[in-house]
């Protein structure tokens, strides 16, 4: 299982975000952006690793691509729902797919937001911030 973890040696009171994307360059860039905004990140590249890592790390939020090797994003969403310990983690889908065909299904499968690539950084960050607020089951303080 290939994972990349960034904690910056900070105390672990920051929110931890898991980035699931099969493009290593994009994972790296997203991680840099998230760390610059005071989040810790865990990166994985496929659906199988996403589930294993979610169980191990219990991230506060997941950014999920839909087109993935070893179980696509919908499979990941479905399996996350099946684990009580993981079903409350907010999932933001970030994909190149067309919202016209994928947004509805994504939200019905349990994701809290859908972004098409390339997404606006500020919009993505504001949804991440909102999702990590209390009252969003599974958020940082719950």
């Amino acid at each position: 299982m290939r994972t990349e973890s960034y904690t910056d040696g900070q105390p672990m009171n920051r929110a931890k975000i898991m980035v699931v994307d099969d493009d290593p360059d994009l994972r790296h860039a997203l991680s840099l952006r998230l760390r610059a905004n005071n989040y810790d990140t865990v990166n994985v590249c496929d659906g199988y690793s996403a589930l294993a890592m979610a169980q191990k790390e219990h991230p506060h939020l997941i950014i999920l691509d839909l087109g993935l090797p070893a179980g696509d994003g919908f499979a990941v969403l479905k399996h996350l729902q099946e684990y009580p310990a993981l079903s409350a983690i907010p999932v933001i889908v970030l994909t190149a797919r067309d919202p016209e065909t994928s947004e509805k299904r994504t939200l019905e499968s349990g994701a809290i937001a859908f972004f098409q690539k390339p997404a606006d950084n500020e919009e993505l960050l504001s949804v991440i911030r909102a999702s990590l607020q209390p009252g969003w089951g599974g958020g940082l303080l719950s």
């Binding site: 860039a29 919202p99 937001a113 690539k117 909102a130």
Partner: protein, 533 residues
């Protein structure tokens, strides 16, 4: 002349028994094994076509219940895939040409034709029709393939584009170390070009959707003036870069329209952007909305620029796909040439039309119409019964408030599902869920006009609370408030004609909705803020 069953089955539509026998005789003479089913009237023929598909229709034009072009028009409409040959007593070349243009395979004149010729004409008609069908199937397959291909390509292009976007913005935001001013400038140019590329990919996909009829619009009842202000405010900075002013025309009272706010904004932005592109510095782009006396059903929107205009010979082409101004000289990248095509498609989907007028040298005006929102028209079938206004009418308001303002896309989706559910909570012939109101802000409000009194409406309100309250997504991200207000009606004592009474109710409802006269004092005991937490 073989159909699927291996039979030659001709449906002969002929009211003259003599002529019908003659045709049968011709078939016998030509030794063709044809089974002829003869009917005298068009209505009989249409009924036959309901039951079975012949290998060919042989048609006389003047029948007891239909004449001339109407006869073949109805047959072609009924059985578009069956070859149709006309066998007429009239030698009418103009009618024959018209028939062939509309899809008839041949026009034969009675008495002109031998058995051999008839047999051959019919055989070729069947062959031609089969060929046409194959061509049509292939064309559809190719169109579908093209759409899939474009959809796939635009998806694949997004992945590298996303990477470029991420790293350029990382650099620009200083997340990989400080940048020299010159480096920042260059990267901004990269970002700008990347955004253009992004817009082209979006247009490509939109045009593909428009081609295949998959462009979706969600019309709402909106204030077009607000939309114009929004578009103008969004495009002012782009205009300012070129020292082109972008203004909204004088504010007039424009009634509400029925249109998709996001799509209409897209059309306005597209037209303003075009205007700016083709207008020299110190010029202007003006957006106006107006009513036209001769057309009370629509609002007319016009985007005028003071640019160089469009030569008359190019006017018919500007809305065509991939059209690009051949005289673009100022280094403006024109894009894919899909913007106006998409804009026109959106306007047409909303039930409007779009056109352009231009004076070379002094500018162009792109105009389009948006249908007026007519509440009385919507209300009439619901709030009247047997020619009278209903005894009691109630306005129910359903307000959805998000807990967080930033979950835009998902919140919109949730509201759409609430609206769908809401439509299931009403009695279709007595109640009406009004089209969503206003440009979709964070707080979404839906209205239901119900033909009932305040006491009975509580059943519906409970049902709404139950159905919408059960939505987990709504529970997690917003609150629901359902309230009701009686609309004063007195059908027995009202001397006005029904139409005016309906107008009265519509005005009352509009006033409440539009001017926010929904005062706390009017709330009923039923009011109940349901915080789903």
């Amino acid at each position: 002349m073989n159909n699927d069953n291996g039979h030659n089955h001709v449906l002969l539509i002929e009211d003259n028994p003599g002529d019908a026998d003659l045709v049968r005789l011709r078939f016998v003479e030509s030794k063709s094994a044809v089974q002829v089913n003869c009917v005298p009237r068009l209505s009989d023929a249409l009924a036959c076509l309901d039951v079975e598909t012949p290998s060919l229709v042989l048609l006389d034009l003047n029948l007891p219940d239909s004449h001339g072009a109407e006869t073949f028009r109805r047959i072609l409409q009924k059985a578009p895939n069956v070859p149709v040959v006309i066998l007429s007593g009239q030698d009418d070349e103009a009618l024959a040409t018209k028939a062939v243009h509309m899809g008839v395979q041949d026009y034969l004149v009675k008495g002109d034709i031998t058995s051999k010729q008839l047999e051959r004409a019919l055989r070729y008609a069947v062959e031609r029709q089969a060929l046409l069908r194959t061509l049509e199937t292939t064309r559809k397959q190719q169109l579908e393939f093209k759409n899939q291909f474009l959809s796939h390509v635009s998806h694949e292009l997004r992945t590298p584009l996303t990477c470029i976007h991420q790293y350029v913005t990382l650099l620009l935001d200083g997340l990989a170390g400080a940048m020299a001013p010159e480096q920042t400038d260059y990267l901004k140019t990269v970002l700008k070009s990347m955004n253009q590329l992004h817009a082209m990919i979006r247009d490509l996909l939109e045009a593909t959707r428009a081609d295949s009829g998959k462009l979706r619009i969600e019309p709402r009842c909106i204030n077009i003036g607000e939309l114009i202000q929004q578009a103008v405010a969004m495009m002012r900075p782009t205009g300012a870069e070129k020292r082109v002013s972008v203004e909204a025309g004088p504010d007039q009272t424009i009634p509400l329209v029925y249109a998709d706010p996001d799509r209409t904004l897209e059309v306005l932005i597209n037209l303003i952007d075009n205007g700016i592109k083709f207008t020299p510095p110190e010029g202007s782009v003006v957006v106006k909305a107006s009513m036209v006396e001769t057309d009370p059903t629509a609002v007319y929107l016009a985007v005028s620029d003071s640019g160089r205009g469009i030569p008359p010979e190019s006017l018919p082409q500007v809305f065509e796909r991939l059209y690009q101004d051949p005289n673009a000289v100022d280094g403006n990248r024109t894009g894919l040439g899909l913007g106006l095509y998409i804009a026109k498609e959106i306007v047409a989907l909303q039930g409007g039309r779009m056109w352009v007028a231009s004076q070379p040298g002094s500018g162009s005006t792109f105009s389009f119409t948006v249908p007026l929102y007519s509440l009385p028209k919507l209300l009439l079938p619901v709030i009247t019964h047997q020619g009278c206004l209903r005894e009691a009418i109630v306005l129910v308001r359903v307000e959805l408030t998000p807990l967080s303002k930033s979950l835009r896309g998902s919140w919109k989706e949730i509201c759409q599902r609430c609206l769908d559910l809401l439509r299931q909570c009403i009695y279709v012939d007595k109640d009406l869920v009004l089209p969503a109101m206003g440009t979709s802000g964070p707080v979404e409000t839906f209205f239901v006009v119900a033909s009932t009194d305040m006491e009975s409406v509580s059943i519906m309100m409970d049902r709404i609370r139950e159905q919408l309250g059960a939505l987990p997504k709504l529970k997690a991200s917003g609150t629901l408030l359902v309230t009701a207000e009686a609309i004063p009606v007195a059908p027995a004592a009202d001397p006005r004609p029904l139409e005016q009474q309906v107008w009265g109710v519509a005005d009352y409802v509009t006033e409440i909705i539009q001017q926010g006269l929904w005062s706390k004092a009017n709330f009923t005991e039923k009011e109940n803020r349901e915080n789903a937490h």
